[in-house]
């Protein structure tokens, strides 16, 4: 658990360097997706590395193995090809998967580690939430509870329906992504989403200058772009590496389970424990939010029953909000 943070960082480092020089590795039998800095610190610029032919360079191949080859054998991929590869794999998705998340409301105590790690991974501004922990109260006589709300990656997504340019789309593994190279910023999808799961880059994004040289990865939606929509991606980039989403693994309280419905298994991000999805939902009366809307969400909630923590929050809950007058 302790190296989670550093993993996030190294991943980002990876992408950053990868963007400086995409490299193809014929020897590894696959196109390399990211370059890796050589050990003696010549990793800051692609040119230096390529000119010193005797150096060995570590590369990460497409299938995730780390290989070492002579720098002279490296063939740089053109930036365009690299982006195209990211785009096409991002639009295709992972074959045979149907991702789903289970959120155990009885365990959430508003730590917001999920929100922080998500904002960190996706370079979001403080007010931009791909996942937002809400304070809910359904009725005057019911107990308030905390409810983390990511994108529900609906199977009947109202948002992708209305997109005029195919910028937001649903992949074969069920993930709804947004391509901010394509998005025209009409914000119809924001209006269409009944769960308010989408955010817009009204301002210059937080790390705009720093991310300038990054290649756009549609599965991470980084760099963010001004004038385009952003949303929860189920951390599609991490799933490809076999890792749980950022929010899921950041939670210290075991709130999140994540997994593949075609395997009927979900894994708890905190304990790493894997359970049968169908049993978990059946035994705990799992439900989806507002099923009457017909959106068919892929995020399930377990009711806030037998709460591990009392609701400690001195502020407004839903019921106190003016509009529930």
């Amino acid at each position: 658990m302790s190296d989670k943070k550093s993993k996030n960082n190294s991943r980002r480092e990876f992408l950053k360097i990868g963007s400086l020089f995409g490299v193809g590795v014929a020897a590894a039998g696959a196109a390399a997706y990211s370059g890796f800095a050589s050990q003696d610190g010549h990793g800051t610029s692609g040119e230096t590395i390529l000119s010193e032919s005797e150096q060995k360079i570590k590369v990460l191949t497409e299938d995730g193995t780390l290989a070492e080859i002579k720098a002279s054998e490296l063939t740089p991929i053109k930036k365009d090809e690299y982006t195209d590869a990211l785009q096409s794999q991002g639009r295709e998705g992972i074959a045979g998967k149907h991702w789903a998340m289970v959120i155990d409301l009885s365990r959430c105590r508003n730590v917001r580690a999920c929100m922080a790690s998500c904002q960190n991974a996706h370079h979001l501004r403080d007010e931009q939430h791909h996942i937002n922990v809400l304070r809910m109260q359904d009725d005057r006589n019911t107990e308030p509870y905390f409810m983390p709300k990511p994108c529900f990656h609906c199977d009947n997504p109202p948002c992708t329906k209305v997109c005029p340019v195919d910028a937001t789309f649903k992949r074969q593994d069920g993930i709804v992504l947004i391509d901010n190279e394509r998005c025209i910023g009409c914000r119809f999808c924001i209006a269409a989403c009944p769960y308010s799961a989408r955010v817009f880059n009204w301002f210059e994004p937080k790390d705009a200058e720093k991310d300038e040289e990054l290649l756009y990865n549609v599965e991470l939606n980084v760099p963010q772009k001004k004038g385009t929509v952003s949303k929860c991606l189920f951390s599609a980039d991490r799933l490809r590496e076999g890792k749980l989403p950022y929010c899921v693994s950041a939670c210290p309280n075991g709130v999140y389970y994540f997994g593949d419905l075609n395997e009927d298994a979900v894994t708890n991000g905190t304990s790493g424990e894997t359970v049968r999805f169908s049993e978990l939902i059946r035994q705990n009366a799992g439900y989806t939010l507002m099923p009457e809307l017909g959106t068919k969400p892929n995020v399930y909630y377990l009711p806030p029953k037998n709460r591990m923590f009392p609701f400690e929050f001195k502020g407004k809950t839903t019921l106190d909000d003016e509009h529930h007058g």
Binding site: S2, K161, K206, G259, T274
Partner: protein, 312 residues
């Protein structure tokens, strides 16, 4: 920009941890009466086993694996509850009540675990307590039974772990053997994990804490109705949990479970699909309306040209 982020992250952390910092200064004290409370659940193998299951499901996520001191990096750090110092310091009653009441980051398990379960966890922890008298007395009370086990335990490397399945009954048989005097010998009492490989982690199918019997065998059934991709193919995995004694020993076995019926989102013709998959009826309607209207307009333009030619 980055600085900002760090500051916010830190401040979030700080706010979260502020109440805890004050607390770490002083010990978590449990009242005398509670401390003196006796464990009503007798110390037994069954209770220890049950305690272990509960510990793994509820405590491990923060406190880490017993004896490994690998709890979550929180402040204060969740104690490894099997540390001798902890076990010496806390009475049964005090461990039980800490679990029951909770304090700040440590949630209350009153609503989650039954009395019996909480006391069983205490028993499980005590089973690792060197100074625990009851544990000794239990051990002492059945030396006869233990004796043959000791003999078996002499089995040495190489170890053999085999995994076979009875596909009709959805039953898996795991045999664990070691070598004794150059011959394969069953190892009894070894804890084996048996599970089905899933994308992120293995789904356990054995009973928690299951150990090999005198023939070195664990029999377990696995859910044949578990969905497993389009072809239902899956991999059964077994490994010995006590890697310190035996090293890393694993066995794999292909099994066939139920095929899933995946949604082919990419190929579905639906309103939400991408533009290459828009519904044909919409296409026809749309195009025909556009065509009709624009051809009327074209006709009007032709008429205008006719008017023009008439004017010459």
């Amino acid at each position: 920009m980055k600085k900002n982020n760090i500051i916010t992250n830190f401040s979030v952390l700080l706010i979260l941890l502020m109440p805890l910092m004050g607390w770490t200064q002083s010990e978590w004290m449990v009242s005398d009466t509670k401390q003196k409370e006796k464990n009503p659940v007798a110390f037994s193998d069954a209770s220890v086993k049950d305690g272990k299951v509960q510990f793994m499901a509820n405590c491990k996520s923060c406190h880490g694996d017993p004896g490994k001191d690998n709890g979550l990096p929180l402040v204060p750090k969740p104690t490894d509850l099997t540390l001798q110092a902890f076990l010496d310091l806390n009475t049964d009653g005090s461990i039980y009540h800490k679990m029951t009441d909770g304090q700040i980051t440590m949630p209350s398990y009153k609503a989650i675990l039954s009395d019996q379960q909480r006391w069983s966890i205490v028993n499980f922890l005590r089973s690792m307590d060197k100074n625990h008298k009851v544990a000794e007395s239990v051990a002492a009370s059945k030396p006869q039974k233990e004796a043959p086990k000791e003999e078996v335990a002499i089995a040495e490397a190489p170890y053999y772990l085999s995994l076979s399945v009875d596909a009709a009954k959805n039953e898996a048989t795991t045999v664990f053997q070691g070598t004794l005097n150059g011959e394969k010998t069953a190892i009894e009492g070894a804890e084996i994990f048996i599970g089905i490989k899933r994308y992120f982690n293995n789904l356990p199918v054995m009973d928690a804490g299951a150990t090999t019997n005198s023939q070195g065998i664990i029999k377990t059934s696995y859910p044949g109705d578990l969905l497993s991709g389009e072809d239902g193919k899956a991999e059964l995995i077994a490994y010995v949990i006590d890697t310190e004694t035996y090293g890393e020993i694993t066995a794999h076995q292909e099994i066939t479970l139920s095929p899933a019926h995946p949604n082919h989102f990419k190929d579905t013709r639906a309103l939400w699909a991408d533009r290459s998959h828009f519904p044909w009826w919409l296409m026809i309607t749309y195009l025909s309306i556009v065509l009709i209207v624009w051809s009327v307009m074209a006709k009007v333009v032709i008429n205008m040209l006719k008017i023009k030619s008439l004017g010459k």
